[in-house]
């Protein structure tokens, strides 16, 4: 009996996770989860006494948890609204971490390379443009034979940052969209089928001929889905890539607001991809626990420096230098320790 007890104590002692003096908890967006988990792992290797634990429960969950203070930091694909910020006990600061982009993907015979402008995309998802050989689409794709078939729009059925970026872009390029549908992580789609997650949308698009949906750039690249070039505000047709996405952020950094809550869709730069977005870490402006606060600030410092080099390998666009510089200065706003 005593031996069993001793063994039990030994097993329990060994099962205790190794010697992390500081445990930091975060929760939020699912889109950046791969890069965040890589970062937290690499940071732990460099700082063995800091363990950062992240749960990808969705941007909405991240915002709720950091507002209530049940996690030490949150993460969101869309910035918190003024109403949400008003409900926080401590002001929450936004720190952009990486960039993501959304691309329109489609299922047409021969998978031609298409050009779809913002007007056309808004028209399709509003239900105004119903056929692939609509004059508006044909005008932008003169050397592609488009079938005389109805378009099957596919959108996300679950709330997500991907939807947020896409409808944010449509709101900017279409007054009718802004008035009737608006921007949000979930919207009331006038037409179309709903798929759950990027995989649901791409599954539906692959299965349904003449379908048109939208997915994350990384997802499209990794799954070799055909995606269209989009026309940016400067009038150029841009194909989504990590460089064109970083260019979009660089263009926006000129008028970056102090709290980094900016939408970088449809920026004016010549080589910018118009459907791109930051994803943010939500950090309280005062962290009472000294150890946790220092750990979080150290992580943010590292993330802005060496961390950015991990982004491209995982398919995320790194932050442009201008934004990184602005964020480094903003780090000073995070106060650590009891007031």
């Amino acid at each position: 009996m005593r031996i069993v007890l001793l063994m039990l104590v030994g097993v329990l002692a060994a099962a205790v996770p190794g010697r992390a003096a500081v445990l930091v908890n975060g929760a939020g967006a699912t889109f950046p989860y791969p890069i965040y988990s890589k970062w937290f792992d690499e940071f732990h290797k460099r700082n063995p006494d800091v363990q950062i634990n992240y749960q990808s429960i969705g941007s909405g969950g991240g915002i709720r948890q950091v507002t209530e203070g049940t996690v030490d930091f949150g993460a969101s694909d869309g910035p918190m609204t003024d109403e949400q910020l008003a409900q926080t006990k401590v002001p929450i600061l936004h720190f952009p971490t990486v960039l993501g982009a959304v691309v329109p993907t489609y299922n047409l015979p021969g998978s031609p390379r298409l050009r779809l402008s913002g007007d056309v995309l808004a028209g399709i998802f509003l239900g105004r443009i119903t056929q692939w050989n609509d004059p508006a689409i044909v005008a932008e794709n003169p050397d592609v034979t488009l079938p005389a078939e109805p378009i099957v729009p596919v959108h996300r059925s679950d709330g997500s940052g991907t939807t947020y970026v896409f409808v944010d872009y449509l709101t900017k390029v279409s007054a009718e969209w802004a008035k009737s549908v608006g921007t949000g992580t979930a919207v009331s789609w006038p037409v179309g089928l709903g798929g759950k997650g990027n995989e649901g949308v791409s599954g539906l698009v692959k299965q349904t001929s003449n379908a048109l949906g939208y997915v994350e750039l990384i997802y499209a690249v990794q799954n070799e889905l055909p995606y269209a070039d989009v026309r940016n505000a400067a009038g150029r047709w841009v194909r989504a890539s990590l460089d064109s996405v970083t260019a979009a952020a660089a263009a926006a950094s000129a008028d970056m607001p102090a709290d980094f809550r900016v939408s970088i869709t449809n920026p004016p730069a010549a080589d910018a991809y118009p459907i791109a977005s930051f994803t943010w870490l939500l950090v309280p402006s005062r962290i009472p626990d000294q150890a946790k606060g220092t750990a979080i600030k150290q992580f943010l410092e590292w993330m802005l420096g060496d961390g950015q080099s991990f982004a491209k390998a995982l398919g995320y666009a790194p932050l442009p230098e201008t934004v990184v510089a602005l964020e480094r200065r903003a780090l000073a706003r995070v106060a650590v320790g009891a007031p």
Binding site: I57, G58, S59, G60, G61, I63, R64, E83, Q84, P150, V152, S157, D158, G159, S160, V181, G182, T183, G184, T185, A186, V187, S188, W189, G192, L193, G194, G195, K196, G200, G203, L204, Q207, T208
Partner: protein, 353 residues
């Protein structure tokens, strides 16, 4: 000379009387004065028996378990009621009659989801009941016992398959099937509103078919058990009167098994109402009410699974909670209706259930 207080029955009665009063003691006393030999205990042991706690403890503990299950259900109802308060205040009863679901402008209505849930369940049952009861009759009555056992075992395995797998099978097998077959039907009967509109392959009909596949094993497994439990004397009597196989089943076996089969149908309905993952993969997730079987739709469980994690904003969350409350309410109403129906069916049949 034995007195009632020193017999076993008297001991038990005395003990129970101490705790629960005359009712229990009386029943215990009556129960054990049936023709059973009574042992007489020496006074010391009799006194210890009088304080025995076994039975009362058993009563208390099992009552506690039963009440805790009810308590859990009550807790669910109360929690949903409180969390949906904002939405109930904002929309009132019109929540159940409105068709918009707009998180951006905060206009919410549950009607398309209620419609989708009820319609897919109705389609599922319409297919599953004849198929399931027919299969059960075959496996219980017509097929040799050993083959029936083997096939029933396979059917019961299907009950245990996780619903996500059904969803994947639905997406990769059923959807193309409905697209081609449904396309042909739509071309032939396109003027009928029931078959109008483009056939995507995913939609109300596909979800209903998938739910039918998921619920048939329930009906087959349980109905077969119930049919096998019908005493042979019933069948023998019918056959002796010159009935054919079908007439025997129809008039002697099925009425006897009716309650059990109804019970299995309602179990299947409960599963169909609450099914989430499989349905959301094949239904198209479009909160719209359309007359066509091929149109995409949405269900209450699917919208909760899809939108809950990202829902930010109190009214949005509250509206989702209200949908959960409506689903909870519908489940309770359906199950209560099932109980009443079974009770009504049981009484006139006169046969033990």
């Amino acid at each position: 000379m034995e007195s009632p207080e020193t017999t076993v029955a008297g001991d038990r009665a005395a003990g129970l009387r101490l705790r629960f009063g005359a009712a229990f003691a009386g029943r215990a006393a009556r129960g054990t004065t049936a023709p059973v030999a009574r042992r007489v205990l020496p006074p010391a042991q009799a006194r210890r028996r009088a304080g025995a706690i076994g039975d009362p403890l058993f009563h208390t503990v099992s009552l506690a378990f039963a009440l805790s299950v009810l308590g859990l259900a009550a807790v669910v109802g109360v929690v949903l009621w409180r969390w949906s308060a904002a939405s109930r205040a904002a929309f009132g009863w019109s929540f159940l009659a409105t068709s918009t679901w707009d998180p951006v402008f905060s206009r919410f209505g549950a009607l398309p989801f209620v419609w989708g849930t009820l319609a897919t369940s109705a389609i599922a049952l319409a297919i599953a009941i004849p198929l399931g009861v027919g299969a059960a009759i075959c496996l219980a009555e017509l097929v040799p016992r050993s083959t029936g056992d083997a096939l029933a075992f396979l059917v019961e395995l299907l009950v245990a398959v996780p619903s996500v797998i059904y969803g994947l099978v639905g997406l990769f097998v059923l959807v193309p099937l409905v697209r081609t077959a449904g396309g042909a039907v739509a071309r032939a009967l396109g003027s009928v509103p029931l078959f109008a509109g483009p056939v995507y392959g995913i939609g109300l009909l596909t979800a209903g078919l998938l739910l039918a596949f998921m619920t048939v094993p329930f009906i087959v497994a349980i109905s077969r058990e119930v049919l096998l439990a019908v005493p042979e004397t019933q069948r023998d009597a019918a056959l002796a009167l010159g009935a054919t196989r079908w007439e025997t089943v129809r008039h002697a076996v099925l009425p006897y098994a009716r309650t059990g089969i109804l019970g299995s149908v309602f179990l299947a309905l409960a599963r169909a109402l609450g099914e989430t993952m499989a349905v959301t993969m094949v239904i198209g997730n479009r909160p719209e009410i359309a007359a066509s079987l091929f149109a995409p739709a949405h269900t209450m469980a699917a919208v909760l699974a899809n939108e809950f994690s990202e829902a930010a904003g109190d009214l949005y969350l509250s509206a989702l909670m209200e949908i959960a409350l409506v689903l909870f309410g519908i489940t309770i109403v359906v199950n209560a209706g099932a109980r009443l129906l079974i009770a009504r069916v049981r009484a006139p049949a006169g046969a033990p259930a």
